[in-house]
């Protein structure tokens, strides 16, 4: 089937007489609507996963890239002196927006998940932590390490690179996986519609024979099938997207804290992305049916 603007316009406008020449019901009709709906439902989740992973990757990347920690590992009588010295070094280091030593209460809260609330910090050799917030341009970690080594021997700088990179990389891969899943789902829609269109054409061989006998062109015959499958894929996909969005809407939320399981969903304009799915499914169905019809009509006599 040749595709041009005229064909597309005729397809969108429709022709109720032409629409009637193909029997209205049949197994392939329900199959197409159901499969498109199911695929769109899955695609909504794939997109939700992908967009959520993207947000997570950005959040982790941004937040962790802008923070660093200094541990002061020193004898107890030296700890306060070295902490003050480290803060002085930090105050004169370009690219650092703020730096502060965590209080005992904050350190206790950090350790609480492992040691409980009643941990006597003064009886343990717990290093003092200094939280650093970097300015937008960032700071020179290597230079800072050298200065700390010279001026504060017990200070160890951790700029989070070691564990930030794998996390961001994992989130990015998950995002890629989500998009790949969405693409595979569209591929499955194309395969399914092609099979259904082939089955419909074979089941309606008599209809094709009659139409040919009375002077129908291949384009006319193909169009009758293509339009029908396109509309079915659109309708099924639209239903699947609506159900998928409702399901995503009711998924438990983790609030503003980015995390994997509780963060799967859409935010802001992200809710509009799945609305494209019915149109993409319809386009995929249109191309797949046009291909299938063109091939089948060349072989059907």
């Amino acid at each position: 089937m040749r595709f041009d603007l005229q064909t597309l316009r005729a397809m969108l406008a429709g022709d109720r007489h032409a629409d009637r020449v193909v029997p209205p019901t049949g197994f392939t009709a329900q199959l197409t609507v159901f499969a498109s709906g199911a695929m769109a439902f899955l695609a909504v989740f794939a997109l939700a996963l992908s967009l959520a992973s993207g947000r997570l990757a950005e959040a982790w990347g941004d937040e962790l890239a802008r923070t660093a920690t200094i541990r002061i590992v020193a004898p107890e009588d030296q700890r306060a002196i070295q902490t003050t010295a480290a803060l002085e070094v930090l105050s004169t280091t370009p690219g650092i927006a703020s730096a502060r030593a965590l209080t005992d209460a904050e350190q206790q809260a950090l350790l609480a998940p492992w040691f409980g609330q009643d941990l006597p910090l003064d009886t343990l050799p717990v290093p003092r932590l200094i939280e650093i917030i970097a300015a937008d341009q960032g700071f020179d970690a290597t230079g800072l390490r050298l200065r700390l080594a010279a001026e504060v021997p017990g200070a160890i700088l951790d700029d989070h690179v070691r564990w930030r990179e794998p996390l961001v990389s994992a989130a990015n891969r998950l995002r890629l996986l989500g998009w790949t899943a969405a693409l595979l789902i569209l591929g499955a829609v194309a395969a399914m519609v092609t099979l259904a269109a082939n089955a419909a054409l074979a089941a309606n061989a008599q209809v094709v024979a009659v139409l040919r006998l009375v002077g129908a062109t291949d384009r006319y015959i193909a169009q009758a099938f293509v339009r029908r499958f396109t509309l079915r894929a659109f309708a099924g996909s639209a239903a699947g997207v609506v159900i998928g969005l409702i399901a995503v809407w009711f998924m438990p939320s983790g609030g503003d804290t980015p995390s994997f399981l509780t963060g799967i969903g859409f935010q802001g304009t992200g809710w509009l992305v799945p609305l494209l799915l019915p149109f993409i499914s319809a386009l995929v169905a249109l191309l797949a049916t046009a291909y299938a019809a063109g091939r089948a009509l060349r072989t059907l006599t």
Binding site: H17, R20, V207, A209, A216, D218, T301
Partner: protein, 225 residues
Amino acid sequence: MIELENVAYSYGGGELLSDISVKLAPGSFHFLTGPSGAGKTTLLKLCYGALLPTSGHVRLFEADVRTLERDDIAMIRRKVGVVHQDVQFLDHLPVRDNVALPLTVSGRHAEAAGDDLGELMAWVGLTNRAEALPPELSGGERQRAALARAVIMSPDVVLADEPTGNVDWEMSQRLLKLLVELNRMGKTVLIATHDLSLIRAAKAQVQARVLRISNRRVQLAGADL
């Protein structure tokens, strides 16, 4: 109008038709006869581009069928009405819509045909069966509906393959009368049949040439018919 020149047609390794030369002039009336399996249907299909010859030339309205695209052949079929013995319809559409189908596929809808369609249904005696579905029709009604469908586009040529094969004598005479009427309106008519009594009945009403297929070739039948 339709011309076959030295046409041969082979199928499954065997030659079904050989060295066939036939010319259907405008307004002529032809019968094509011969025993079952002689190749009458094949020859008819060659006449409307449903089959392509193995060798030789088939010219439909002066265009060699080999040079035509599939859609060109579809256009030519709008000028050739075809009636088969085993008539096929779109079973989900009422008779009226089936008869109007050639109009539908050519972009002219049944509503536009209006009175013409009503007259045609009356001409074939199916006015009161217009809303029936094809499976509800009798053999004779199906043939008449097929004839109405074949002529609704006012084609130049009507090809009928054993049109009376499934109907009784009375109905076959009625169908023949309709075909003769079409010829009197200037249409070229070719009827493939093995029913010699039909040919004799027709020769009493119209000047018809009788072609006989024998041994894969076509010859003009003698006065014995």
